[in-house]
Symmetry: C2
């Protein structure tokens, strides 16, 4: 895997030329994935050059922009290959795969997906919480296996209304999740780097204190050194035996081994997981559990969100090449 993070060497020069093309150049940085064509929409705005392109070796030293596809790692050694780069355009909701500190050090601007994915991720968080509480996927499985006529005593789920829900990371996604949960009758509390003024929800300074005061945690924060494994055994058990974890952030925010252990032991009520520590590996112990909903890192995936992503990526590229303000520059203090 580590090797495949390096772009492959450029192939022999093909018939492709840069001819009379006046479009600015941007390098595409990516682990070779089959659906690169999906991102070709960008090429209406910039001349996208990628590692297998015949012109890669010509443009690599002078390109001012790099577009990072998905969660392709962009570390110091990768940046060394792009010595003229001034901007890194991220295309994902989380940017933990990009070495932001190193970009800062090199004075390279970084943009993210902005809010292109936020609403869809927030929707998905609510969907996972509802599914775990009300056993929707488990019910669907029961019907499809023909068990309904046989076993009509279906176990009761739990009501969403009245639940105390703790949001870990009250950024734009966390706020959207909260707004969606309010009319269900949930009580919202949160933890975040700082207490937010003008926010009516109860603030707890630590995840542990938040977990102690709530029935469900929804992880909406970024993965950083500070949030790595911040949801550990102590935090998970603090919610009690009926506690529910929803993770639409990043797998490594949670100590996954402990999460699995607690679920196996019946010490946690359930979990709705879109992300895992070693994707696409999912702990097999979870495959037989009806109180767990497993999703293949797809909370951002809708036709509409990719259209929004296209707009923000193209917008950032146009803004950069015409010296206008960027649409979704990442806060350098993050």
């Amino acid at each position: 895997m580590e090797d495949s993070q390096q772009p492959p060497p450029p192939p022999p020069t093909t018939t492709a030329t840069n001819g009379n093309d006046n479009r600015p150049i941007a390098i595409v940085h990516y682990i070779p994935i089959p659906n690169l064509s999906f991102f070709q929409f960008i090429s209406e705005t910039v001349n996208l050059i990628h590692a297998s392109d015949s012109l890669f070796s010509i443009h690599r030293p002078s390109a001012r922009a790099v577009v990072v596809l998905g969660s392709t790692p962009l570390k110091s050694e990768h940046l060394d290959q792009y010595p003229s780069v001034e901007i890194v355009i991220g295309t994902s909701a989380g940017l933990d795969h990009i070495d932001l500190a190193e970009c800062r050090r090199r004075n390279i601007k970084v943009t993210g997906a902005g809010d292109a994915f936020s609403e869809d991720v927030a929707d998905y968080a609510v969907a996972l919480l509802l599914d775990v509480l009300r056993r929707v996927s488990a019910a669907d499985r029961c019907v499809r296996t023909g068990l309904w006529p046989v076993n009509r005593e279906y176990p009761l789920g739990n009501k969403l209304g009245g639940k105390r829900v703790g949001i870990v990371g009250l950024g734009s996604i966390g706020m959207m999740v909260s707004k969606r949960l309010e009319p269900f009758g949930c009580t919202i509390a949160y933890t975040s780097r700082n207490k937010k003024s003008h926010i009516p929800y109860l603030f707890y300074p630590t995840v542990l204190e938040l977990a102690t005061a709530t029935d469900a945690l929804i992880l909406c924060c970024a993965l950083t050194d500070k949030t790595h494994h911040v949801v550990n055994r102590e935090v998970l058990t603090a919610m009690g035996k009926k506690g529910i974890l929803v993770n639409i952030g990043r797998g490594a925010i949670v100590d996954e081994k402990e999460l699995v252990k607690l679920l196996v032991e019946g010490e946690l009520g359930g979990a709705g997981l879109d992300v895992y520590e070693k994707e696409p590996e999912v702990p097999k112990e979870l495959f037989t559990m009806d109180n767990v909903v497993l999703s293949p890192h797809k909370a951002v995936f809708t036709t509409e969100s990719f259209e929004a992503l296209r707009d923000v990526v193209i917008g950032n590229l146009k803004a950069f090449f015409s010296n206008k303000p960027l649409l979704s520059e990442v806060n350098p203090n993050n």
Copy 2:
């Protein structure tokens, strides 16, 4: 099945007596089901007599109250067995199994579950719509079958925000569904017996007009002669090929054969179904579809909703036997 709707003949007298018991009497009307004990909570308030009880033949002619368990049919011929009954206590969200017209004719009051189930049903409607749009159950199935590492190109779902959602039947459940969908960014429209004043949502006088103007229909109405098969082929196709149907009402509101045909033909976008025309039979053609979510008539089933049901059933019984206003009398004009 028809036979089992008749209470079995009372068994020989047992040691059970009514002794010094001052509690009023209520007959329990039910198709024998294994979890009758679940409803024994009522017996703290009234002396529940059921068909297999030794005292049934003594109390049947004089009992003033009948409690109908679940969806046990209560038709004219059943009412003939309870000649003194003055009140029928329903325990389900829909009351289509009770002959309301006949109860009216006999001057028998009828109470329903009131709002005991409403919030849970509304939550479940949102869960089904989210699941169909975002393919949560299908994703869970994909992960559990170990397909994620093999097939990483997961089909895109669709965003809930921006969708025009049509509510069929804007009673308390329909209103709760609407309130929950608002912060997702949905546009709500509805059809109902009458246009509601002070409701900001757009009203359409017929289901067909509503379907023509919306991307998804959520069926929240009761099953009556007027709503039987009201969602027919014409209505379903009016939503267009991406249209979605969510049914948490009753199976027979929809022409199920046509629904299945349209889904098989790809003429409808998807469906989230909690109810079916011939439960527990579910059309097998749906078992292989990823754009369909199948649920075994459990939208009302939570620990909390059954506690709320207990309160409303006991409340109605207490009110009746003390000549106080009933908590959830069914509108005799319905």
